[in-house]
Symmetry: C2
Subunit: 451 residues, 2 copies
């Protein structure tokens, strides 16, 4: 186990690779967990990765590949032969991971690689590849242990021994009837810890319970919700006739949760794409540019608004432009973030009525607005900005806060209703729109006050 | 299982509660999973919660309580007697959950409740309460199955049967030596599926492996990192002498991950506190006010900057104030978010040198800045804002983008170095600081251009 993957360790490793110290490196890799090897490969140059790859124990290569970051994995896959991918990678990993790897290959290569698998693996893989991304089926693996209700315990244990060879971690033993329909789970604990006679059948041990299941076509957010809510380690997947097709394990759900959280976070911070600090200059630029360009056009629209209101006649109003723009943006983002988080956590019933929600948001904004407005009125009078400007700013501020809060709540809820990711509303859109509308409100009140 | 907890269901339930239909409600609750009951209670009024609480089956009450949202749980605990908390709740839940519940009680009550537990539970609980929040110990439960190396398999199975009564889900069987030091794990799969003779001992079945462990004093982020990286379902916790103290299960880690992600998200969106759309008006206002007040003072500082530069002499510069302020804030948040995410995912080696990182950020900002600057120069010339103003804006923009990117990278990295949560830098601080400094740069260049 690498305690802390630091620069010194990586530099030493790069040195050994440059010096082609194959035996030393091979011994070093043999001591490491696949996840640790993957973490190391993620930090190396492509040629170093390829060199080190061949020094990893064959049966561990698949597990290493699965743990790599996507860009590193894709680069490595491009260098491996079809035979290597099929025999050294796919045959050693779970079917759900195999499906993920294959779907990252160019279509033609994917077909060639699949042809090299044995019939059973090939059929499993082809069936998994049918499920669209975002469905429970796409998260599912077929490795599991199933026993039939009328088997004797000793027959079941023999069968389980055979099946268990393919299954890395046994979470549960699934009990099915003769048509393959899922009846429930039998915990290993129960099987191990219940005294049985030689004649006992699985049916004697098994108590029908409310086993949580998910249909293969259901969306993956349903999977996350179920496993989180009921603290499940594995979730069986069934078809429309309740026939057991596979299982989803918690580690995949943890990864999925993390991806979703990162995506929402990125949208809220104005990053349009997954981006990490070790990505290339161009990747990093591209992830940031979209929001910046939207911001630019928002800024131009702002300039137009200020020009229309003839700033040269009221130059002192310019002083509070940053305040009005910033507050509109801030309030809008806060409101949108609460909606997005509530939807992501599945906390809000989808049929919740829009009006009471907006009414509450209005009350919160009124309270916040009144406080901020009073503070700014006092502060700007004290700072000598004069009654006219101070009252204009404080009236505009409360109006902007209320508008931004309602807009920030309404937009993500509406996006969600149309099945568009509500997190889109947290980034550029709300901020820019609120900036511009804030300015219109501010200068509108300014014109009224000076009339 | 409640398929979709909708408003109609809740209204019907509230009606039954108002009508005191105890038998009906009791039968209804008996059919539900504790997590479903908790979800329902979260949405009801306090008096309804109290009424329904007594209709939940006694042995399920603890599991329901643990799943409640914190504010609902605290309100309910305040209404329960010490005896009810001890006997109906704590004795039916895992020790880690019990410790969490007790630590939510006022200190005096906690002591009284603990006195009511039997000796073993009391000692377990007191030992868990010693570990500070944020440590592995605070996440750990003591329920686990341990066997000694020299036990025969049949003795071990008898012992396991006894121990398993207290353990809800058996993840692994931990093998210890006579002094209680952890030697490794024995999977149930192995125990169940390996043919043994009556004389076999645990030592015959057990292969020493690199079982991942965590020290009880280590921070919980280390726990998250280990369990995520190695796809663990349970992680044993040991003391400095490698003696087995307890285990941490994946469901607690999933909850912790989610909390951390939500906290970062809230900070990035300018919410100072955990807040949900069904919180009270005052809670919602309080969570938002801090950022708004910081924004207000930032706005006043901006007004001061604009005043100092004598806007009345260059009124047309007011037009691009929103653009400069928005871009500075946007770039700063983007840069800070990348740092925060990298740190949270444990992707960046902590010993990474600051300078190369800033250099890369500088390059990205230079590229983004050059693109944005060129766009704005062309656009503002085309819109007839004249050479002087257009060049000023475009020079200021590139300077602001570069400064904001460096500042946005530097601040969270520095906070992290001083062990302060780097996510603090994503919210009000960076945006407000960049707004003000952006204005100084803009008007500074304006003054130079007009000189």
């Amino acid at each position: 186990m690498v305690e802390e993957l630091n620069r010194a360790y990586l530099d030493a490793l790069s040195g050994d690779i440059a010096g082609k110290k194959a035996d030393l490196l091979q011994a070093q890799m043999a001591e490491l967990h696949p996840a640790d090897i993957a973490e190391i490969l993620d930090k190396l140059e492509d040629e170093e990765v390829q060199y080190l790859w061949n020094l990893i124990q064959t049966e561990e290569r698949g597990d290493v590949l699965v743990e790599l970051e996507e860009d590193v994995r894709v680069a490595l896959l491009a260098k491996l032969s079809n035979r290597e991918i099929a025999e050294e990678v796919l045959e050693h990993i779970d079917s759900d991971d195999a499906a993920d790897v294959v779907s990252e290959l160019p279509e033609e290569r994917a077909a060639e690689v699949i042809q090299r698998l044995d019939t059973e693996d090939r059929e499993d893989l082809l069936s998994l590849l049918r499920y669209p991304e975002g469905s429970a089926g796409a998260l599912m693996g077929t490795e599991l242990i199933r026993v039939e209700l009328d088997w004797t315990v000793s027959h079941a244990i023999r069968e389980m021994r055979r099946q268990a060879e393919d299954v890395e971690t046994v979470h549960s033993v699934y009990v099915v009837n003769a048509s393959g329909q899922l009846l429930g789970r039998l915990s290993l604990k129960r099987l191990l810890l219940t005294a049985t006679s030689t004649r006992s059948t699985i049916g004697d041990l098994f108590k029908e319970d409310d086993t949580h299941t998910v249909k293969v076509t259901e969306p993956d957010e349903k999977v996350v919700q179920l496993m989180k809510k009921y603290d499940l380690v594995a979730l069986p997947v069934v078809d429309d006739h309740n026939r057991l097709l596979g299982r989803i394990t918690i580690d995949d759900v943890v990864d999925l949760m993390e991806e979703e959280a990162e995506k929402d976070y990125q949208l809220a911070s104005g990053l349009s794409d997954e981006v990490e600090s070790d990505d290339s200059l161009w990747d990093m630029t591209r992830a940031r540019l979209p929001w910046l360009l939207i911001g630019l056009f928002g800024g131009l629209a702002g300039a137009y608004v200020i020009g229309v209101f003839d700033i040269e006649r009221f130059p002192s109003m310019a002083l509070f432009i940053p305040l009005i723009a910033a507050m509109g943006g801030n309030v809008g983002v806060q409101s949108a973030a609460i909606v997005v988080q509530g939807l992501a956590a599945g906390r809000n019933p989808r049929d919740e009525r829009l009006f009471p929600r907006l009414l509450k948001e209005f009350s919160v904004a009124l309270l916040n607005g009144a406080i901020c407005s009073a503070v700014i009125l006092g502060a700007s009078l004290a700072l000598g900005y004069g009654w006219n400007l101070s009252v204009t700013v404080s009236l505009a501020l409360i109006a902007v806060i209320i508008f931004a809060a309602l807009f920030g709540t309404f937009v993500p809820l509406t996006l969600d209703r149309f099945k568009i990711d509500p997190a889109l509303a947290t980034g550029p859109f709300i901020t820019t729109a609120n900036d511009i509308i804030g300015l219109i409100i501010y200068f509108g009140i300014g014109v009224l006050m000076s009339a």
